[in-house]
């Protein structure tokens, strides 16, 4: 029993020493480290590029259909301004391409207003965002503007106070609605579901 107590005391002492040294080191680092803190007006600019993953379509009867698209490419430019330390708001202009079975190219160009909430675990950050806006789909001579919703989650590593690098996973939900009043029948309305996985460079200013 005595031996056990001695061991416990030694272990506690060791932990205290280790933790003391860690805290000491942490304090040293803090002297050189920029503490993330943003306020209204601070701005960010993102450049994103990655892989576009077509998922599925479903129609108004909720019948799921293949997109028949290949993996594609995607990219976007995003600007945001901080409203609070954790909340930012801005806009994003994106683009993607993917090929049909007969090598026709589908282009989509979403333009969204994007709100982001930032979870911070220094030196990492996890932004969760939602973009809402319009999406222009182009397939040869066919083109259509639709609503788009783009929820996304990211993971960023801060290189320094200005630059950060990370990755995003973004879901694209595009309800393509035809009223039937134009050339296209209303039965052609489809809901597009896509995803992209992108790498990102973030610059704060």
């Amino acid at each position: 029993m005595k031996n056990l107590n001695k061991k416990l005391i030694l272990l506690l002492a060791l932990l205290v020493l280790i933790s003391g040294s860690l805290f000491a080191a942490s304090d040293d680092d803090d002297e050189d480290t920029y503490v993330e803190s943003f306020s209204l007006g601070d701005q960010m600019f993102f450049i994103n590029g990655g892989v576009f993953i077509p998922l599925f379509f479903f129609d108004r009867s909720l019948d799921v259909m293949e997109t028949n698209l290949t993996l594609g490419g995607t990219g976007s430019l995003c600007w945001q301004v901080f409203l609070t330390n954790h909340l930012s708001l801005g806009g994003e202009l994106g683009g993607m391409f993917a090929l049909s079975p007969n090598r026709r190219v589908l282009y989509m160009i979403p333009l969204t207003v994007k709100a982001t909430y930032w979870f911070r675990f220094y030196p990492f950050e996890i932004p969760i965002s939602l973009g809402l806006g319009g999406n222009l789909s182009i397939l040869e001579e066919a083109a259509h503007i639709d609503f788009i919703a783009k929820p996304a989650v990211g993971f960023y590593w801060n290189f320094n106070e200005e630059w950060a690098f990370g990755a995003n996973v973004t879901y694209w939900f595009v309800p393509q609605i035809y009223s039937g009043s134009g050339k296209v029948q209303s039965s052609h309305s489809m809901f597009g579901n896509f995803m992209d996985v992108s790498l990102s460079v973030l610059f704060r200013f």
Binding site: F57, M65, E66, T67, N68, L69, G91, L93, S100, P101, N102, R104, L106, I109, L111, G134, L136, S137, I138, L139, E140, E141, A142, A143, H144, I145, V174, Q176, Y178, G182, K183, V184, Q185, S187, H188, S189, M190, F191, G192
Partner: protein
């Protein structure tokens, strides 16, 4: 700053709206969900073809080389058969008394010569010494072989190409202006019909009567007034022709018609676009009726696929009923059904069409022979749905 952002946003919105004005008849996602990879049945995708025939249960197509396959859906793949040795680029083909006639170019002097064969790859060069100038075009109608030369003269043979006679009965000695001039010949209702590019004639070899449609001045601005193709619809005893301005002309009981008997379409194809291949289709529909459609292919100067002319009739002035011929890009011949694989043919200039009627009397395939976009087959996909596929 705020104004700049607003300006940028407005520019983007304007671009969006500008681009989005162009809309096809098919939903973007919907079309993708239905798209299937075009199968290829051994014909070159970018071949030019003008002639197809059917004989002995086989289809033959001249697409630079000569290809054959079983008719009436008997087989899907085409098989190349031998061209005459030392000759290439077979672009014209006709059938007279179950014998196949082709024009093939000599590899040495690059001039076309006439050959006959039975489709097994053996060919006999015909004696065309009576044709003084270089051969230009060939048509076969009612077992008569017609040849034009590059000087614009017309020759014909009623003995399977054994001999040719120059047709001196035409009012103009030179009817065909160039080696590639439009020339067409069809037969129906006891008469031949001749498209001599600037004039139309009816009658018989050696005895023609002009019955060119009456039209006001130039058909199309400063371009030459050129008629492109003829099509005789036996069921209605009606003759159709089209011109390089995109108008269609029709005449009932053409064997006795005059130039004033023609009815000209009120509307024409897309501006500046001539029409070329013509065909009349009678297609059963899901409600039990039959739709009669005139299909007109766009000419070589345009390449916009084909137009559907619904319910063609000559009883009224507006036989292009009731709208102008609409560009049915991506669609089959029935507007109820869409064909998502037809995007390529929608860009093609179509030389001619060919119907392969099945023995059951109701089913058929029809083919579009294009300039540089290969040969396309429109076939029934089950039910009343039809679809295009590149051969």
């Amino acid at each position: 700053m705020g104004k700049k952002i607003l300006s940028i946003a407005l520019i983007f919105i304007s671009i969006y709206l500008l681009i989005s004005c162009n809309e096809s008849e098919i939903g973007v996602f919907y079309g993708l969900s239905k798209e299937e990879k075009v199968k290829n049945y051994a014909l070159p995708d970018h071949c030019t073809s003008e002639s197809m025939i059917k004989t002995g249960g086989y289809l033959y197509v001249a697409a630079s080389s000569i290809y054959k396959k079983q008719a009436e859906g008997g087989e899907l793949d085409w098989h190349k058969i031998k061209s005459p040795s030392g000759y290439h680029n077979v672009t014209e083909m006709g059938l007279a008394n179950d014998t196949i006639f082709i024009l093939a170019y000599d590899s040495d002097d690059a001039k076309p010569y006439l050959f006959s064969g039975t489709g097994d790859g053996t060919w006999e060069k015909k004696d065309t010494s009576a044709i003084e100038k270089t051969i230009s075009r060939m048509r076969v109608a009612n077992n008569t072989i017609f040849i034009t030369d590059r000087e614009g003269h017309l020759y014909y043979s009623n003995d399977d190409g054994a001999s040719f006679t120059q047709d001196t009965s035409l009012t103009d000695s030179k009817l065909f202006s160039t080696s590639t001039g439009n020339f067409d010949m069809v037969y129906g209702g006891g008469s031949y019909y001749l498209n001599a590019q600037y004039k139309l004639y009816r009658g018989n070899p050696g005895g023609w009567t002009e019955f060119t449609p009456t039209h006001d001045g130039k058909i199309w601005k400063d371009k030459e007034d050129v008629f492109t193709r003829l099509y005789y619809d036996e069921d209605d005893d009606r003759l159709y022709t089209a011109d390089n301005a995109g108008y269609i002309y029709a005449v009932d009981s053409p064997s006795g018609a005059s130039g004033t008997s023609w009815v000209k379409s009120d509307h024409h194809a897309r501006s500046g676009m001539g029409l070329q291949g013509l065909i009349v289709l009678r297609i059963p529909t899901s409600n039990g009726s039959t739709r009669t459609l005139l299909v007109a292919g766009s000419g070589i100067n345009a390449g916009h696929g084909y137009y559907i002319v619904d319910n063609p009739r000559t009883s009224e002035r507006k036989y292009l009923d009731p709208e102008p011929p609409r560009n049915r890009d991506y669609t089959t011949i029935i507007s109820d059904y869409y064909d998502y694989n037809a995007f390529n043919i929608s860009k093609a200039a179509i030389n001619s069409f060919f119907i392969d009627e099945y023995a059951d009397g109701t089913s058929f395939d029809f083919y579009a022979l294009t300039y540089g976009y290969g040969v396309w087959k429109n076939t029934n996909k089950g039910g009343y749905e039809r679809a295009w596929n590149q051969e």
